[in-house]
């Protein structure tokens, strides 16, 4: 089942300069009761974004009108904790198509790749520069170029290369899906299963 294709994304970004942002913050467990994938963006960072009486916390980046864009920039070890894909869904549903950090937790990163959100890992120094640039000018544009595997801070031209394996890159560029791939080798799987004791 295809998802959005990703090629080049040039947009402003929302900064979240906090380390170890865990998936319980991205989407608290009490919002995991849905049986369909919709509406998770409303509860993205719910408890950092809203007071208990549901009024917005004005100092939180998502509530600050000066920040916008399709890229979320987070501190080191972004997405740690639970395997809930709901966290990636919430990021996507809110409108982000790319998350930038100096380090990602494994499962969150996989979940993002599986739904068409591009995780871009940069050096700690470059991450600091991005945060500084956005702080100086919230309209700073970042350009993420998937074919070239580069991320550029357009104000200074500073650029870094990022890693993604060829298979996932193809999937992201074309909106391909792992399950379609696997269904095409189902006979190999069936043969393998014959020798896999239960």
């Amino acid at each position: 089942m295809a998802y959005d294709k990703f090629n080049i994304l040039k947009t402003s970004a929302v900064p979240l300069p906090i380390e170890n942002v865990d998936t319980d913050q991205i989407i608290p467990a009490r919002f995991l009761k849905a049986t369909e994938r919709k509406g998770f963006g409303d509860n993205l960072f719910r408890d950092w974004r809203y007071n208990p009486d549901n009024t917005p916390k004005e100092d939180f980046a998502l509530n600050n009108p000066k920040y916008s864009g399709k890229i979320l920039v987070g501190g080191k070890n972004f997405g740690s904790g639970s395997s809930r894909e709901h966290a990636a869904w919430a990021v996507y549903d809110y409108g982000f198509r790319c998350v930038v950090s100096s380090f990602f937790a494994d499962i969150f990163k996989n979940n993002c790749l599986n739904i068409g959100v591009l995780p871009v890992q940069v050096s700690p120094e470059f991450l600091e520069n991005i945060f500084a640039a956005i702080e100086a000018d919230p309209e700073t544009l970042l350009e993420v170029n998937l074919p070239e595997q580069t991320i550029t801070l357009t104000t200074t031209g500073e650029q870094e290369h990022f890693d993604i394996n060829d298979y996932k890159k193809e999937n992201m560029l074309n909106g391909f899906d792992d399950i379609d791939y696997l269904l095409n080798i189902k006979e190999n799987i069936r043969e393998f299963a014959l020798n896999a004791p239960l």
Binding site: T35, E36, I107, N165
Partner: protein
């Protein structure tokens, strides 16, 4: 080529290799629960495809279930709807379903081993990060997202890049009052919550060799809390003895054949790990966390570290202490607490209840403490009763609840109120994890018991 335990199990499950891409890995057993599966089943419906191997798939309800009055209808309509969805999906696809009220119902990572679904050398996945628990048997077990749940339902395979390998050795003898939970919290405090990201960990050394199967499960369970994809321990006679006679364990000639294979599952002498770390068992004391991630743990007799002594960002560290309403340098001993939670896939097994009972026996629950004691399964619940532990708990003023994940993630009504402190035997102390605004101190069942009878953070060694 010398192979690690991880290599042996992984390599024997690769169906197909993609150049500069992931491996297609065959999954022997897939465990499913109500929270991370509904969207995966919708995906199958949309594609018009069935579950490929329903007999390799096991479903239980645990995350979102009440822990009292389970015989009554679930009152929260959203939770009830999610449970109903799993029941219907399981029925439609011919998957065995151990729902609420079923004798085999319980936390997925507790019932898997109990019924022999978990076996050495197997690949096991579940839409839950604590799937790493099953690595205690020498299985490769890890948590996956919902897209991957759909992938495994549809094709019994997953696409993953092989992780790097890390061995963590702990040798020597553990001190009095130091439990498997303390060993794990100690390791995480040294490695931080991201120290093992990208790795699959093998635990080796005297401490793990001497540890019970349940203790090994606790340690492997917490592997994800240092970022590891999973953790595993080589199977030995203790493992084989534990497995024997369980419902899904092979019997007769099949068992003999299986055991022959299981005995080959250890790291070859001279195999090289990408990273190897060693600790001395005697350095470990009962642990407690003071912050908002599981890496923020210290020996219970120690003070909260100063920001300048901590690796990582000072702002993040201070934010964390602010949330906990703690200050740098303060002692943990004596800090007042409000709730105690004994349970979860980390510490909800019979040995955990025995440990808890060993301290509360002949004592009384502190008046200021609300205690939730939640067995991991009906089997654990039955053992608590049979062994007379329930009587000990009752005499000390505690009640036993019914099985489920409960206050570990507080999806049900077991929520710690905002601002309150809970000493919890679970696995995560993230902000709001046990309820919006709740403050969690992770610890062992012994530390939880000591806190439950004193109403404050207390060194359990005083009672041993």
């Amino acid at each position: 080529m010398k192979k690690t335990l991880f290599d042996k199990v992984w390599d024997s499950h690769v169906v197909h290799k993609i150049e500069n891409g992931p491996d297609v890995l065959f999954i022997d057993r897939h465990m499913v629960h109500e929270v991370t599966s509904p969207v995966a089943f919708i995906g199958l419906k949309t594609r018009g495809i069935p579950v490929m191997y329903p007999n390799r798939t096991f479903a239980t309800a645990d995350h979102n279930t009440p822990t009292i009055n389970q015989h009554l209808p679930v009152s929260d309509p959203l939770s009830a709807n999610q449970l109903k969805a799993l029941e219907e999906n399981a029925a439609e696809h011919g998957i065995s379903y151990w729902g609420l009220g079923h004798e085999k119902n319980g936390i997925v990572h507790v019932v898997g081993p109990e019924y022999g679904i978990t076996q050495p050398g197997a690949t096991i996945v579940c839409g839950d990060s604590h799937t790493s628990t099953h690595g205690a048997f020498g299985a490769i077990a890890f948590g996956i997202g919902t897209s991957e749940v759909e992938m495994v339902l549809a094709t019994q395979c997953i696409m993953q890049q092989k992780a790097k390998s890390m061995r963590i050795n702990v040798n020597g003898e553990l001190n009095k009052g130091v439990t498997p939970k303390d060993v794990a919290l100690y390791i995480i405090s040294k490695l931080t919550t991201s120290g093992a990201t990208g790795y699959f960990v093998e635990y080796a050394g005297d401490v793990f060799t001497n540890m019970s199967m349940e203790g090994r499960m606790t340690v492997c369970n917490l592997s994800i809390e240092m970022g590891a994809r999973g953790g595993m321990i080589a199977p030995d006679q203790k493992t084989f003895d534990y497995i024997q006679g369980r419902e899904f364990t092979p019997v007769g000639a099949d068992l003999e054949k299986a055991q022959e294979y299981w005995k080959t599952l250890s790291t070859d002498e001279g195999a090289v790990f990408d990273k190897e770390i060693s600790f001395d068992a005697s350095d470990i004391e009962p642990m407690i966390t003071y912050g908002t991630n599981p890496g923020m743990g210290i020996g219970i007799s120690k003070g909260i570290p100063l920001a300048e002594a901590v690796e990582g960002g000072v702002a993040t560290y201070k934010k964390s202490l602010h949330y906990m309403n703690y200050s740098e340098g303060e002692d943990m001993i004596g800090k007042p607490i409000d709730f105690v939670f004994l349970g979860s896939c980390t510490n909800g097994r019979i040995e955990d209840f025995r440990a808890f009972a060993s301290i509360v026996k002949g004592r009384k629950k502190a008046d200021n403490v609300t205690a939730w004691l939640v067995p991991g399964s009906h089997q654990v619940e039955a053992a608590i009763k049979e062994e007379g532990i329930l009587d000990i708990l009752h005499e000390a003023g505690f009640e036993l609840r019914e099985p489920g994940c409960s206050a570990c993630l507080a999806m049900n009504d077991d929520k710690v109120p905002a601002g309150k402190y809970a000493v919890s035997t679970s696995n995560r102390n993230f902000e709001g994890r046990q309820g919006p605004g709740s403050r969690t101190l992770l610890a062992s069942p012994l530390v939880a018991a000591a806190a439950a009878v004193t109403g404050k953070v207390t060194d359990p060694r005083e009672f041993l």
